[in-house]
């Protein structure tokens, strides 16, 4: 794959806003505006490279599912920091994974340094973003700028098809809630923090859900209500109410853009756990995804598939590498590159010298894992070298497209730029 610099010919800001993409510009680390969507360059891939990425992503997803099955069978929940009740929810959700706990999507972050290697950096399996940019904005760019080329991107139709599957599965199962209101069976409530990027992402997913036959309602997560009835709403559940939206409509199908661990730690967390356990609320992503979005999965993958070509060596204990090595320390529940650092280890597993890169942030109390550092896709630009991470999307269980994030630093963060791609068949 190759990075090609071009002069953006079109008024892309207006094109973006026309599509409702109003978070195209981010704040630079030192303050001031910095484009988040960046079409002053694109990445050119070959059809063979696209085939390799597609195959690698599908294989990694299958490995991840095997790892989840292993963790649940062996009850290896300790590294994931789950309470017994949360572990029970995860196991119950996994048992329903082919039924009402179908997964919608996830995004692998891949390092593709250009020597033929493809390495998994992590799996954003619970709350991946950058979806709208990849599915719509990038596609629209291709149609406008390179209408004769192709793009690894069938995300939108894959999402519609998967939402349809989920809807039919939910409807077939019904809702055990003895509410007098039945219209919730076909309604999907989508919640997120009230910030532009997350609002934009659920607005897009609401459109997709609508196309798949759901009634779709979006609301800020802090507007979700709890309707207390004072008595169990289903026999034996011990649940004495349900979640409602701002019209007091009960929430039966919930898409959340906040990580499971945040919601469970919140004031409504125990209620969410009880409602999900009782099958009164179905959640996208389902609870079993908590195991894959937690970076504690990385050492498990390595242990189950030692030396696998698609994996980076990873351990919970940095002394386990047993050789001098450059490693990346990642907080288990970190996001957007926060609290990630890169350092060199000596043969005894001790850190030598200053970190090569480090990003501050609010994570880390939950513990870290250590992963062998691998080179990313790189390119030289007029502004210096850039590093690119390939976000490779899984919809359902299929590999359906990519989106590329670039940064000037080694660690890809919240303000890394989204750069479109294309390939020539």
């Amino acid at each position: 794959m190759e990075r090609v610099a071009i002069t953006p010919l079109r008024d892309w800001q207006s094109a973006a806003e026309e599509l409702g993409f109003d978070w195209h510009t981010a704040e630079a680390p030192g303050g001031g505006p910095q484009p988040y969507w960046d079409e002053s360059a694109y990445w050119q891939l070959s059809a063979a490279e696209v085939d390799d990425i597609e195959a690698a992503t599908a294989e990694l997803h299958a490995m991840c599912l095997d790892a989840v099955a292993h963790i649940i069978a062996e009850k290896e929940f300790t590294p994931f920091g789950l309470t017994p009740a949360q572990a029970g929810l995860v196991a119950a959700s996994w048992a329903r994974r082919e039924d009402e706990d179908l997964s919608l999507y996830g995004r692998f972050d891949l390092a593709i340094p250009g020597n033929g290697d493809i390495k998994m950096l992590e799996y954003n399996a619970d709350t991946p973003t950058g979806l709208y940019e990849a599915a719509v904005m990038q596609w629209q760019w291709l149609q406008t700028v390179f209408p004769d080329r192709d793009q690894f991107n069938s995300l939108h139709e894959a999402l519609v098809a998967r939402f349809q599957e989920i809807r039919l599965r939910w409807q077939a199962r019904g809702v055990p809630m003895e509410s007098e209101r039945r219209e919730e069976l076909n309604t999907l409530h989508l919640i997120a923090a009230d910030i532009p990027e997350d609002r934009g992402t659920i607005a897009y997913l609401a459109e997709v859900a609508l196309e798949a036959g759901f009634r779709a309602k979006t609301l800020a997560a802090d507007r979700v209500g709890w309707a207390e009835t004072g008595a169990p709403v289903t026999r034996g559940s011990g649940v004495t109410g349900w979640f409602v939206d701002t019209e007091d409509q009960p929430i039966a199908g919930l898409f959340k853009l906040q990580p499971w661990e945040w919601l469970l730690a919140d004031d409504f967390g125990e209620k969410l756990l009880a409602l999900t356990d009782a099958g009164i609320v179905r959640v996208i992503e389902p609870a079993w995804k908590m195991l894959l979005s937690n970076k504690a999965i990385l050492p498990v993958l390595w242990r189950l598939n030692p030396g696998h070509a698609l994996l980076c060596e990873a351990h919970a204990d940095r002394h386990a590498f047993k050789r001098p090595l450059r490693v990346v320390a990642k907080p288990k529940l970190g996001r957007e590159g926060a609290n990630v650092s890169i350092a060199d280890l000596d043969a005894a597993g001790e850190i030598t010298g200053a970190p090569l890169d480090h990003v501050d942030g609010p994570y880390g109390q939950e513990g870290y894992i250590y992963q062998e550092a691998v080179p990313l896709a790189q390119a030289t630009t007029a502004r210096g070298p850039v590093h690119a991470v390939i976000g490779s999307w899984i919809v359902g269980d299929e590999s359906r497209g990519i989106g590329i994030r670039e940064s000037n630093t080694l660690i890809t963060g919240n303000t890394s730029r989204f750069v479109p791609h294309c390939f020539t068949p």
Binding site: P128, N153, E157, S179, E207, W226, V233, E247, W262, R400
Partner: protein, 201 residues
Amino acid sequence: MKKSKIRKSRYVASVLRGAGVVILALPIAACDPGQQAATEQPATEQKVGEQDVKIYSSIEACASDADPAACEAARNQAITEHREKAPRYTNAEQCRTENKECEEVRTSSGGSYFMPMMMGFMMGRMLGGGGYGFGSRPVYTDSQGYANTTDRRLGMPATPSAGGTTTVRAPVTAGGDIGTRTATVSRGGFGSSSARFGAAS
């Protein structure tokens, strides 16, 4: 392999325009054909039966079923409850989120607030918590089309208004109450999640 251009441009044209998606608290008028009108109730109250409840929009409508003087007394009693117990909203938008029709009420101090507009009043023997007195209550239509009293949901009107009378088949509880008690709602329990470190990954 599914990586060719199989997406049609109509998708891109429609996204994020919000057509059809219900954003936050906007009321919806959609009514799916498969949906059933409400007949069930929460397990908090034991339902013992159902009763057709007539809702009169005027004394004249009521007078075809009952004594005009009783109708007038019933309407007055409903209006009193309406003034005392109907929900109040600081602005029209809030009120219309929950109710089909709203009215502005001016206060003597020069301010104003909004209340749902009465679609009519109901009267009957079993009203008023199991007693056999002759009671009457104000009735409202919410934004989803259900008929409600100030604290109970009656159900979806089964017949359109004819001559100013609408009929709703409503559940009757063991305690003699008609309709389903509306649950108490609290909000903000996912507030910390929203206030955390911003974007998802």
